[in-house]
Subunit: 137 residues, 4 copies
């Protein structure tokens, strides 16, 4: 693709993310430094005490982060991610929303909020990417 | 279980971690604030550019962290995790080793190193747990 | 003090923060999980390459974080802080704004944004506190 | 300076770090990705409850991190730092030791441990730098 990718091109790009597919994450929206992803919670997303696994919550937030950071048309790879777990949810689904805080030629920074289907914030993530000189797609 | 759980009891406890099982993570060792976990890399662990997904690496490190932090016999829940991604590996498996840096009655802190099967460090994690008054198991 | 402290009581409490005073930080506002602090940049805030020192930026953000997290009337101590440095500013002053993302009986979580006097975001912080059973003041 | 700076050249470089000087931090050692710094605790390092301020502890650890990451001869700027506070010390001095975990042409990663003069670990830091193409010195 040339120039800035369209939302459809970005969604297609992320259908190749086999781990996110395996976990069951759906990319709902992506454009201009923002993205939204959703995970319908099933038994295989739980941990030993029966609540959503930190790794599942992270992977959902990470997909929104990856989509947002790659939406500018330049390949972005995560270099640092910090996640705070705020609440053990009993909801049926989780939604992650990523938005860009800053972006320069080499580095960009994002915050990602994960909420359950009752609107409660479950986790808060802060992530940084290194932007390669190659194009997304 | 009463008192400090044995390694076998802890391993049994983590067989109930359905997400870690689903991802394919194996808990190799756990005792006294330390733990080691392993992930044999398969196609479903990759991201859109064909390298191990940040979420898969995180989930591996997170299991070692969870095992180490629950090994004292008191339930520990992750409250904050920071991960730095250091290298895009082409290895066939990943090993995560967690060790305890500090532990008091309410909070404990761990570092987790993820290396590939060529001995290269792939990611470095720092995690903190809140220790509940309930017992593990 | 009894019940929830007033803004004046909180400001008085933070005049006892000798390190923040020594650095030259001013607490502008604090109430209900939010706080704003300001640092007028002087020569002693710079690092070896002549830009504001990461430690000075951190200390400014940390004061806003401490004020916001202690504003509920219960003593809160920082347990984890993550900071991303986004831009090397050439401004004359920095402003940090903290806001609460979640708060339960034991733990609470905040984001703190540091901007320069030209409105550019310089740093982004995510912090977590442990809330003691003692009262602020 | 040309090539890899000597320890004396690096120490001289950090005498220009006016904020670290103002806080009272001493750089003890620096070479090959490692560094040690010390802070003798005085009244102006305390917070409102009379223990060492998170910002003072951070600034100490940050100087060891900056020295270690600049020791390779290439200018390194902090882009992300995560710090966990593990213990409220009553010691008279703090020592921070930084060591390099990984280093490539653009990015490098460090862990920094802060202990008091009784050998207790007070804080644990994980930091990442972006390495500019300019030389240190």
């Amino acid at each position: 693709m040339t120039g800035k990718p369209t939302t459809d091109e970005l969604k297609r790009f992320f259908t190749r993310d086999t781990f996110a597919n395996y976990v069951g994450i759906e990319l709902l929206e992506v454009a201009d430094g923002h993205a939204t992803a959703r995970l319908e919670l099933k038994d295989h997303h739980l941990n030993g005490v029966g609540i959503p696994h930190g790794g599942a919550i992270f992977t959902l937030a990470d997909l929104a982060f990856a989509a947002a950071s790659n939406s500018r048309g330049q390949v972005a790879v995560a270099i640092n991610v910090n996640i705070s777990y705020l609440k053990a949810t009993t909801g049926k689904a989780l939604i992650a929303k990523a938005h860009e805080v800053s972006c320069n030629s080499k580095l960009a920074s994002y915050t990602i909020e994960v909420a359950d289907d009752e609107g409660e914030i479950v986790a808060l993530m802060q992530g940084m990417v290194y932007r390669r000189s190659t194009k997304t797609g």
